[in-house]
Amino acid sequence: MPPVFGVIFDGAAYGMLLFLMSVGLSVTLGMMNFVNLAHCSFAMLGGYVTVTLMNALGWPFLATLPAAFIAAAAASVILERIFFRRFYHASDLEQCLLTIGIVFVSIAAAAYIYGTDQQPVQLPPYLRGSVHVLGLDLAVYRMFLIAIAMLITVLLVVTVETTRFGAQVRAAVNNQRMARGLGIDVDRLFATTFALGSGLAGLGGALAIQMVGLDPSFALTFLIYVLIVVSVGGLGSIAGSFAAAMLLGVSDIAGKYYVPAIGAFLIYLVMLALLMWRPTGIFGRR
């Protein structure tokens, strides 16, 4: 099989990771128009939780994943209660600045506690190595990543499309005022969605360690990619986040493989082109 399929596979794995980290931000941005730039700090928190549980407490890797999710979700609930709640009607700029302030503090805290080096993580043996499939060497971990992300995607879609909660989320994203008028408790809905989205980000952060590494600057470096996914995909759209994440994941890997000279910023060029074509995102509201 030609290497392009390997590139697509790696791109898909990276894209899935981006999706997990971005979907929460996209939905909360679409619902409440709250620009939470601290979103990737939750991802980073999830990563550090996994590292601590595994290295300091000897937990098995798989067991740390739900812990990462819960820790990030819990942290988001606390921050939402203390800070974010008061800024739902503030300007975009104020929200950006508040959450950037939180990012800076989180980066400094992580550096203080864990130092600035990349964190090592020992994968369990069944997730290491690669499998030879149809002439390609596919990394087992990436297959695992894709599998988990697909599972979560299916769960998300099922929840959003079939449950009452999901219907409320869709209504609130579509027209918040109307949703309130229908008696939906949008504030509580938002808090729940926010926690879920942040939890997913935490899970993404934990899963990302093996693929892209973890150090305190994670909260900022990944923020840029997450913002790209969210703006290109369209606010409030799960399908949009998925499509954008896959598109960007594959472009980035493909770019670095085929045109390494510009590979580093191919992702920005793709974003610029897509945003100029569709400013509200591929699946965004016009």
């Binding site: 700029l93 600045l97 800076f104 980066i107 203080y112 600035t116 703006s231 580093a264 974003m271």
Partner: protein, 329 residues
């Protein structure tokens, strides 16, 4: 209801434009470093340059409402223009400034066509994206830019043939301060012109502007170009006074720092960028021994505090205070 004599509208407009005593005090105070802190003139020149850059961002952010995360692009373009001219043998500073103004202005003008078409998140991301692309491109074009190591061989000639750049920064600070003041005067004029009024209209209610026949996109293109020119001049000043140019003059860090300074000082008041730059850079110099990680911790806390308590920055807080004192007396 008392009927007051209708105040003369011309007098009201004139009163808006008059120089306040606080402004005069401020500009006189900028001369103090020569006398009080002669060892810090190099720092003072850097502050003046950064203040100029911050002011250029205020023109698009505070007055026209364009949130740009990539304004350093024009600073960097100005920096590299002046630097390249000098590195290739022409180190005359004033023509260097002019050349930087031209290249930054043209870049800003071309980009403005894109900028004026978008709003909200798309606009923020586009400004970010353009900035990031430029940095990577500059990195790749290391034959031109010196890449990661930066430009070498910059030597700035004496200003007007007479004023040599000395080690103490005396010339540097004078040069930067004069440039800052001159451009400030132009910016002040702009703010109080019909164009300045139009910009405030765009900021206050962008949707209403077309409904009164305003060509909003043209206005945005104009102010964006002007802001790019000023940023380019600031960049050139930095290149000339420090005789170095590196990738960080284009980078996200610089765009983000100047945004923080402007917010700190207060947007939309023209002096906000100046005040913010002074406070930020003095603080950074005082804490320069600190690990950079901890610096960002305190900046983070400061940002949170400013947003929660003083959303209009230091100047906003001061004017609230003045209003409260005014009500009591």
């Amino acid at each position: 209801m008392t009927t007051q004599a209708v105040a003369d509208p011309h007098e009201f407009v004139r009163a808006q434009i008059r120089w306040r005593w606080s402004e005069v005090v401020f500009w006189l105070a900028t001369l103090l470093p020569f006398v009080l802190a002669p060892n810090y003139l190099v720092l003072a020149s850097q502050i003046a340059i950064t203040a100029l850059f911050a002011m250029s961002l205020d023109l698009i952010l505070g007055y026209a409402g364009i949130v740009s995360l990539g304004h350093a692009a024009y600073f960097g373009i100005g920096s590299y223009t002046a630097g390249l001219m000098s590195a290739h043998g022409w180190g005359e500073p004033l023509t260097g400034l002019a050349a930087a103004a031209v290249t930054a202005g043209i870049s800003g003008y071309l980009t403005s066509f894109i900028i004026a078409r978008f709003r909200h998140l798309a606009l923020i991301m586009i400004t970010l994206g353009i900035g990031l692309v430029l940095v990577e491109a500059a990195n790749s074009a290391s034959w031109l830019t010196g890449g990661f190591d930066g430009l070498q061989g910059i030597h700035t000639w004496p200003i007007l043939g007479k004023f040599h750049f000395d080690l103490y920064g005396y010339t540097a600070y004078s040069y930067a301060l004069i440039a800052l003041f001159a451009i400030f005067l132009l910016a002040r004029r702009l703010i109080h012109s019909p164009f300045g009024l139009a910009l405030r209209g765009i900021r206050e209610n962008g949707a209403r502007m077309p409904a009164i026949g305003a060509p909003t996109r043209e206005h945005i293109r104009t102010i964006y170009t002007i802001a790019a020119i000023i940023a380019g001049v600031a960049g050139a000043l930095l290149a000339q006074t420090t005789e170095t140019v590196s990738l960080e003059s284009l980078g996200f860090q610089r765009s983000a720092d100047v945004l923080v300074m402007l917010i700190l000082g207060g947007t939309g008041r023209l002096y906000g960028g100046l005040i913010g730059a002074i406070v930020y850079m003095v603080a950074r110099d005082q804490f320069s021994g600190l690990n950079p990680q901890y610096w960002y911790f305190w900046i983070g806390l400061l940002l949170i505090a400013v947003v929660m308590t003083l959303p209009n920055g230091i100047l906003g807080g001061l004017s609230l205070l003045a209003a409260r004192i005014g009500k009591r007396s």
